[in-house]
């Protein structure tokens, strides 16, 4: 399969298509027009001129080439493959012969060009299929008209319409012109899951060939005529601002063209990346304090005070939690501590910007192109319709590229320099000017009644700038009669943001560890204990229950079976269990580990997933495997410390990312059903830390309460 970037504008593209003759072009607007599909004629009359860029649509040329657009930003979650696959399924084309093209930002035609919240498939499942089904229906009608037969006598297969009674067939390419003249049907039928040829199969990443040959362009690879490379000196700590600078040294570096001040930042523009970096290093800058310089130790002290207190507005308050403790048979208390985590995608931040008064071109890696455009519009006071945002493939995101700071910065520098610029961040820049996973503290108190039933659960949480530090409706909410969550916010100069499976990524560790401890206190098997609670959530729920207890139970039982839960493992191997529900998907895991000299080795992870219908089995499996290893990596190593407003860990020599030698073998099983698909980029991650830490308890009798795991420091 070939892929290409569409560089033509909407208008010129339409013209080209028309000139090529006989093409059926279907654009669709899944939300604004309720999932309807409009034809080429309709599209050409939509106002907006050149700024109207093609987006998720199907193009069938008279040359027979079928192109499907990939509208969403690709960060490695596989949407450039899985979204076009939905269209292709209903269109009934040969996947190996179609082309997939990445679309740019187009909010006129798209509702959700965002990579976040594990939401792309969830929001596109029906509308994208409908676009394919509509085109298919028109092609069938075109064929039926050509043969003068009833459309009901025709079927489609791999890009052909076939007349069943006599076997005549015509390719979609041959039918394109005729189909483009037909009225667009408003009602189409989607396939029954039994008819799926692509959905649920193993489909490979559409960009594989380019990636393995080094031909895939990421944001960092952008190079345009007259472009300058920029490196930016930013405040070296949260709470510092620019006082003064001397650029003589920088300007004397060969290749350096300009030095510019943009607020508290200084940009060095040069003819190569290395010159820009050397120029930046040669700046003499004086920074001054802008308020207090914070420390992680200050945060921990503040958290410790906050988590002793209730709030006026609990996030959830079922029953009367205070009544549960006086008569409890057992009270279990644990406090868990979460560090900051940088996103550290392998491709450092970068963005290309070419700003003119009447036109702005932005291109690069962003999970939120529409936010990027509106933020640039606001800063430069240039209307959004004059700003285009092209989407490069991204070298990871994990939430970092939900922020627009680095793209806005590029636009500002281009505007000041009056030149096209590519702003490049170093790893050190990325570690310091991050939007980290919020650091926090989670203090739990749970009560077991005389019959060893869980009767009370009270969380008092505090986290940096997080709004809500909890996920108040997470299991076991719904299964506990007295259940209260208090969440405190600690304001800080340190910037934070969404990090893969926000909040879930830590509370799953805390709560699944605590459930394991409560099960032991109750003398119950941890898996049986969870199943018992889920039965309670089903038969006698307390308050809102956001999960389906039966689906939850199924993944728990499946993972337990896969991991031979309850049976003794080989000598020296210990098992732990963890499960979590997030982004609509249910995931349970059994981890097998060993411990030697306080070092943890994870040998194998068994994982059961119910994400509804699997769209791409290969993509789904790799998302879950990646989530597990990512979650394991931060459980073993992930920690960013702030001292005097500075990130202590500045690069990968100090901030450890998990490497192949720590990556366990993983077995993933998807629960087969045809329920509409749910998120999968994030749900695989949360259960692994508790599964591993519960196995550590099995091995050592120690409860891990702080991440990253430091066995020697735990009591």
């Amino acid at each position: 399969m070939k892929t290409a970037n569409l560089k033509t504008s909407r208008r010129s593209f339409l013209k080209t298509t028309a000139l090529a003759g006989g093409a059926l072009l279907l654009g669709f607007d899944p939300f604004l027009s309720g999932g309807s599909v409009v034809s080429l004629k309709d599209l050409s009359t939509i106002p907006g001129g050149v700024s109207f860029q093609p987006n998720a649509f199907i193009r069938i040329g008279a040359d027979g080439i079928i192109t499907i657009m990939a509208p969403n930003p690709e960060i490695g979650q596989g949407v450039k493959t899985s979204l076009p696959l939905l269209v292709a399924e209903e269109l009934d084309v040969d996947w190996n012969t179609i082309q997939v093209e990445q679309a740019g930002l187009d909010t006129k035609n798209f509702n959700r060009q965002t990579a976040g919240g594990s939401g792309s498939i969830r929001s596109s499942w029906k509308s994208f299929r409908k676009a394919g089904a509509t085109a298919r229906k028109m092609l069938v009608e075109a064929a039926a008209g050509t043969w003068n037969v009833n459309a009901d006598e025709c079927y489609t297969e791999k890009g052909f319409v076939i007349h069943k009674p006599n076997g005549k067939k015509l390719s979609y390419g041959n039918l394109a012109e005729k189909a483009s003249q037909l009225k667009v049907p408003s009602d189409v039928n989607l396939k029954d899951p039994k008819e799926f040829n692509l959905i649920g199969k193993r489909i490979h990443n559409v960009d594989n060939r380019k990636i393995v040959t080094g031909k895939m362009d990421f944001g960092i690879d952008t190079k345009r005529e007259g472009m300058l490379y920029a490196m930016v000196a930013r405040p070296p700590a949260f709470g510092k601002k620019l006082k003064s600078f001397d650029d003589k040294g920088a300007l004397s570096v060969s290749g350096v063209k300009k030095v510019l001040q943009a607020g508290n930042k200084i940009a060095v523009l040069a003819t190569s990346t290395w010159s820009a970096k050397k120029g930046r290093d040669a700046l003499k800058i004086e920074w001054e304090d802008d308020g207090k310089l914070e420390n992680t130790t200050d945060h921990l002290e503040a958290f410790a005070k906050l988590v002793t207190q209730k709030t006026d507005k609990p996030k959830r308050n079922d029953g009367d939690v205070d009544s549960a403790f006086p008569n409890a048979a057992k009270v279990i208390e644990r406090t868990f501590v979460a560090p900051f985590l940088p996103h550290a995608p392998m491709e450092p931040m970068n963005f290309y910007a070419d700003v003119h008064d009447d036109a702005v071109e932005l291109y690069g890696p962003t999970q939120t192109p529409s936010r990027t455009r509106s933020d640039v519009s606001r800063l430069l006071k240039i209307p959004e319709e004059k700003i285009t945002v092209g989407l490069s493939r991204m070298g990871g995101g994990f939430g970092r590229r939900l922020q627009s700071d680095y793209a806005v910065e590029a636009a500002e520098i281009s505007s000041l320099a009056k030149a096209p610029v590519q702003v490049m961040w170093t790893r050190e820049d990325d570690m310091q000017a991050g939007f980290y996973r919020p650091a926090g503290m989670y203090s739990y108190k749970a009560a077991l009644g005389k019959d060893n039933q869980l009767i009370g659960w009270h969380l008092k949480a505090a986290a940096i700038n997080s709004g809500n530090a909890s996920r108040e409706n997470s299991f076991p909410a719904g299964a506990v009669p007295n259940f209260r969550i208090d969440s405190h916010n600690l304001e800080s100069k340190v910037t934070v943001g969404a990090w893969r499976a926000p909040t879930h990524n830590f509370i799953a560790f805390a709560e699944e560890s605590l459930l394991d401890e409560i099960a032991h206190a109750a003398g119950k098997d941890p898996v049986a204990f969870r199943l018992e609670l889920l039965d309670k959530a089903k038969t006698s729920p307390t308050g809102t229950v956001e999960y389906d207890p039966e689906r939850y139970k199924t993944v728990i039982k499946t993972a337990a079976e896969m991991g031979n839960w309850g049976k003794k493992a080989d000598n020296g191997i210990y098992k732990g269990f963890g499960a979590h529900f997030s982004f609509g998907s249910y995931v349970a895991q059994v981890a097998e580990i060993s411990v030697k000299d306080n070092k943890i080795k994870v040998h194998k992870v068994f994982c059961a997933v119910d994400c509804g219908q699997v769209v791409n089995l290969s993509g789904a499996e790799t998302q879950v495997e990646g989530g597990i290893i990512d979650g394991l990596g931060v459980a073993l190593y992930g920690k960013l410390t702030i001292e005097n407003g500075q990130a202590v860990q500045k690069n990968f020599n100090a901030y450890n990312l998990i490497r192949i030698s720590d990556a366990p073998d993983i077995e993933v099983k998807f629960i087969e059903n045809n329920i509409d698909p749910m998120g999968l980029g994030e749900p695989g991650l949360p259960p692994i830390a508790p599964a591993v830490c519960n196995a550590i308890f099995a091995a050592t009798g120690k409860r891990i309460t702080k991440l990253p795991i430091n066995l020697a420091s735990e009591g």
């Binding site: 490979h204 990636i211 393995v212 031909k215 010159s275 491709e347 020599n653 998990i658």
Partner: protein, 155 residues
């Protein structure tokens, strides 16, 4: 600025850059060979891995003045069309997620197979531990290396 003569992918190039310019930036900015990526700049992540006289090295940490003393192969020089057994294995195992680190992973894997045509898991872990994959495609990387080994990946 001084002139350096480089042998990259069996072709000779002349570049005019400062002597301390890392090979990575010469490849990317001067020679337009952008398949080699930037990740950390301190030889810790492996996304910039190329071959220098047949060994996997981190191009971010080799100045051009040293680089001109040897033969350099980049991902673009591995094959014209992705037909190298390691590249084919990568496709067959559907290894990439975001794909950013994979050129470096492949260059390390090719260097490993040239020295150990049938590596064990432990050999793979030892040779590949300098290459971080933030998407954590490690399980498939291991499988792909074994597959490439079966298919004569040590060429």
């Amino acid at each position: 600025m001084p002139v350096f003569r480089l042998n990259v992918n069996n072709q000779s190039f002349t570049v005019n850059v400062e002597a301390d310019t890392p090979l990575l930036w010469v490849l990317r900015d001067e020679l337009n060979l952008r398949g080699t990526k930037f990740g950390c700049g301190i030889a810790q992540c492996g996304v910039c891995t190329v071959h220098f006289n047949g060994n996997a090295v981190r191009s971010c940490s080799i100045p051009v003045s040293v680089a001109e003393k040897g033969k350099i192969i980049t991902i673009e020089g591995l094959s014209k069309d992705g037909s190298h057994p390691v590249q084919r294995a990568w496709e067959e195992m559907d290894v990439p997620q975001c794909g950013y680190c994979q050129a470096g992973q492949i260059m390390s894997a090719v260097a490993l197979l040239s020295k150990k045509p049938k590596p064990s898991d432990a050999d793979i872990d030892a040779a590949m531990t300098g290459n971080i994959c933030r998407c954590a495609t490690y399980k498939r990387i291991r499988k792909a290396i074994h597959l490439a080994a079966e298919n004569g990946g040590n060429k």
